[in-house]
Symmetry: D3
Subunit: 239 residues, 6 copies
Amino acid sequence: MRPSGRAPDQLREIVLETDVSMHAEGSCLAKFGDTHVLCTASLIESVPPWLRNSGRGWVTAEYGMLPRATTSRSEREAARGKQSGRTLEIQRLIGRSLRAVTDLTGFGERQIKLDCDVIQADGGTRTAAITGAYVALYLCFQHMHRFGAVKRIPLREEVAGVSCGLYEGTAVLDLDYAEDSSAQADANFVLTAGGGIVEVQATAEQDPFTRAQYDLLLELAEAGVRQLVGHQRRALGLA
Amino acid sequence: MRPSGRAPDQLREIVLETDVSMHAEGSCLAKFGDTHVLCTASLIESVPPWLRNSGRGWVTAEYGMLPRATTSRSEREAARGKQSGRTLEIQRLIGRSLRAVTDLTGFGERQIKLDCDVIQADGGTRTAAITGAYVALYLCFQHMHRFGAVKRIPLREEVAGVSCGLYEGTAVLDLDYAEDSSAQADANFVLTAGGGIVEVQATAEQDPFTRAQYDLLLELAEAGVRQLVGHQRRALGLA
Amino acid sequence: MRPSGRAPDQLREIVLETDVSMHAEGSCLAKFGDTHVLCTASLIESVPPWLRNSGRGWVTAEYGMLPRATTSRSEREAARGKQSGRTLEIQRLIGRSLRAVTDLTGFGERQIKLDCDVIQADGGTRTAAITGAYVALYLCFQHMHRFGAVKRIPLREEVAGVSCGLYEGTAVLDLDYAEDSSAQADANFVLTAGGGIVEVQATAEQDPFTRAQYDLLLELAEAGVRQLVGHQRRALGLA
Amino acid sequence: MRPSGRAPDQLREIVLETDVSMHAEGSCLAKFGDTHVLCTASLIESVPPWLRNSGRGWVTAEYGMLPRATTSRSEREAARGKQSGRTLEIQRLIGRSLRAVTDLTGFGERQIKLDCDVIQADGGTRTAAITGAYVALYLCFQHMHRFGAVKRIPLREEVAGVSCGLYEGTAVLDLDYAEDSSAQADANFVLTAGGGIVEVQATAEQDPFTRAQYDLLLELAEAGVRQLVGHQRRALGLA
Amino acid sequence: MRPSGRAPDQLREIVLETDVSMHAEGSCLAKFGDTHVLCTASLIESVPPWLRNSGRGWVTAEYGMLPRATTSRSEREAARGKQSGRTLEIQRLIGRSLRAVTDLTGFGERQIKLDCDVIQADGGTRTAAITGAYVALYLCFQHMHRFGAVKRIPLREEVAGVSCGLYEGTAVLDLDYAEDSSAQADANFVLTAGGGIVEVQATAEQDPFTRAQYDLLLELAEAGVRQLVGHQRRALGLA
Amino acid sequence: MRPSGRAPDQLREIVLETDVSMHAEGSCLAKFGDTHVLCTASLIESVPPWLRNSGRGWVTAEYGMLPRATTSRSEREAARGKQSGRTLEIQRLIGRSLRAVTDLTGFGERQIKLDCDVIQADGGTRTAAITGAYVALYLCFQHMHRFGAVKRIPLREEVAGVSCGLYEGTAVLDLDYAEDSSAQADANFVLTAGGGIVEVQATAEQDPFTRAQYDLLLELAEAGVRQLVGHQRRALGLA
């Protein structure tokens, strides 16, 4: 029995609220239950030095967590003077995930910066961030399209992330904090609408897990991402 | 004529939404028009070293702005590795303002940390932060009271902040970004319910301003704070 | 009775010693009693990036305190690896104060950097810094004038700073450390020779202060700045 | 055809040289072809604060690369003043991988720090580091056993890491730099002697990869790790 | 011919002004011509962790240069966020030099911090700092003696520093900036009153120098330090 | 009697192993007994800003120590976020020493970066680094010569470093850690093949040392460097 009473293959309530920022070119507040991540896409009219004169654009991400997004207050990274290894690891993951579905030759020498800020955390912040960032990125491209900056949305297919894990011996989908903190294994999957694998990060917290367990987690993730892609399409008015 | 069409002595629409964080002991989302600041109060069961064994508590604040809270994206302070002078100045102001109305001997050797994070900015973020932080602090003390940690709420009176300035020669209340960016003078006032002056920060952007102009600004602020205190009381169910 | 035996409206002994640095284009050692601040003006033949090709110059300030300028040794900011919030706040204040009286279009695309280093501290270092920095800046422009770099001194009027506060219930001018550390309220005023208000920073240390008290402080400051401007003029040989 | 002429399922030449440091309690120079990683295990007679009085020990890792370990010189992280996200990500991975096979209750309140420094890089530094760090850790425990600090070696089974990827459409084992820099997908597997999965980090560099491709990579890794475990046992004189 | 017209073995005008700081336990403004270094000695009633319960004290130094102490303004180290290699090298040298003549068992578990801040630089700042720091340290011990904290001044003999170099082929004493910047070799000697060698730092700027040249420099330094010790004794009223 | 049983004027076993890095343009593993320093020379096709359009090149060095190069593990400087004063001092010394024998006008506007990383430490790391860096630099120039980038090797003569000290009252050559940690005085000499003095850094650890002692140390160093130059020539196949 899961603490939340959910079935093993049941996502939390998913809400993808669009256009939540008056300034950003694209934005989405992604809610996976009590995990709330504000994702904004900012269009920047220049690229990093190593892409100048390449004709290609870039998509990158930054991740942060408000100090009291968590059960007990965590130190503010700006005050501490550096981002933690966990933060850097997550923002690199978000950036790679989005670039995997973006046609980087399709929007000129521009950069889109995805800021994913966790307003409230209850497990699964990185997968909510990826799922919401896709929506913000799409909206940013739509904005650019309206002004003629791109001819078509340079995204090949949807991408979304979800976590799975072994909780009291059972494979479960979309762990919340109560589950995550006592799971034996924790795996984050980033998959595309077409079922392609973009990123896998699986970690055995205590004992190693078996190939069979691992396959179960991947199957849960595939089903979960199909639902998340449905949410993305509805949020964008595409379904 | 103000860009927003407001009268010179008219505040923006003020919303003080309480209990917006599932984790914080007290929280308030303060909206001054399109300026939205999330204020959380976190109870910490220890004090800074210099207060140990003093029997006194401490109230302090941290301030941050999401990178895309602003018209064009600003650099993330955590990525940059340090907080700007502006950020440090504002968070010191918030802390002093709240301490000025708190009985620091009234809640034991504990610390309350007020995190004020700007979700969206349209001018006047520091004054919205102070106004919302008061509400979050009150709710935190109320929470402590329910659990018997304090006998009474150790706050002497309400405190709120508002900005005033000279815009096209006229003294106006509660500047938004359009006004702020072209004002000749900008003054932030932190006043109490009883009309006491807690903090004044006035800056002539171009020409110095006169004593008469300055007095006008202070009078606008006094009227504005009276209204803000009304909003605080209603948000807390005290009026 | 003030600890120093001064009358409530009496400044400390003021000395503005000019040309104290063999290298700087302008320099002034400002002494407000035992508070000694070395102010140097350095001419830099370039402007910050955001002013390039604007035809305008820039005036900015940095502030520091020698580790043993204070009663007990304070940590060296260079060793600590960052400037404190207090330091950043003060140097921003000095820069804004001097820019308020400078014609930034009057000396080409150049920058003048004012370094204000506290050699010995006894309260009121920021106001001594502003008062001395004006003299150093004037001398720097005079130096530029001699070499034909400016046609006239691009300063509109004198600017000076002074602190006032409530000490044992009485409004007093130019607080020294003994007064400052036990004052109920502390206000720094930056005013021009013509009585214009450039900056006000007022802080109630404990109880809020009243409008009437506040007005008294401002009046003391107006009288104090008139005397400081006299000292500036004499130091510059203009009176 | 692989640039090195290896078969798709062929490891590079593996050398695990032991006791290469005169100071460290355990050490191993792990060579995967031209990738050389010096792994040292340092015994520290204390634990991090959050483990004090828990009766448990800790194993952690740090990773670094000499500036000219790479084709073109990379900046020294110590000179730059911070470790990159990549470095932090890798050292967290190494630490988790080793903890997954260590009985943390089996060596008292002590800490073992694994330093993995890349002397020369040619792809696959993190997997060589994990494979070598296991050997250094074993030797450190053996050293502690000789002095009676532990009754038995508190390691449950061997752990080793290997990378796999899709190179010109073919699944290949143990990528070198020439392959890695043009692979379509890159996956790092950390597996135990018994076939348990400890960590998976898979990244599609361009197009997402399919479930079938992913399964092929995992099978290559399983065969590769079996061979690496054999090398570990021989290096330790256990086979 | 030296730019200053001095004889090869002639020091600049030396002034050691004592008790220049109202707060420090000992202080000396050391002037070697136009090089002015403010040296303060601060008594701290604790020692670094590694000396606790050793019965020994510690003497250490910090060095800094005001931004406009130099011909062209140099960046403020506190603003830059770190001390340069040159600064660290110099302050380590000052600390070692003073410890070499101090009986560290003679003043209890206390620390004396010597702050040497260059107010104006014209070459030879490190040697002026050492010479002045000795005087400040002596005065600090004298202060401690008056209050009974030490029975006798725990200094074995005077120590002073002086630079020598090869300028246009001639060995000269106490280089000023004009000489230093074009010298072929530059050597700093720290010697005691009794002629003992405490520190030598010699650097050939272009061509290596010969043993004979080196011996000449050392002889000049010996004569120079004898004079500097005379200045120290007169400044302290001991001669 | 020295702990190692060596005669007072006897070097440790010296090994200068060349071409130890597959990537670097020149490399040398310098072993002075158990002190092992990996020196690589990296050719960079640009110069620092202040040398642009000067027609001159630059040689500079960086120094590091692996955390477990030492008896007890030392903190990783990259993790700590800054290089120590000792590190900065040593790398500045290495750079100056090599520049003293290099014709900076002889290899165009290029930079050669010498990385000296201590793999294992047993005293005398800086002198081993200088001795090995010379060999790496020579090999780098030889590499450039093969490709026609220089017409001749722009090195005037060999340079090498060695430490000397007073150990139990006797002057000894090439101190190992056991001697170094209890020596009364420690001096590092950098000399050329022709006997020229490039750098001297001498420090009295406790009592000052005499002129006669100092002269003995220099003579030991001269004999030691002659042998080291022989090793350099043999390693480079020049003798």
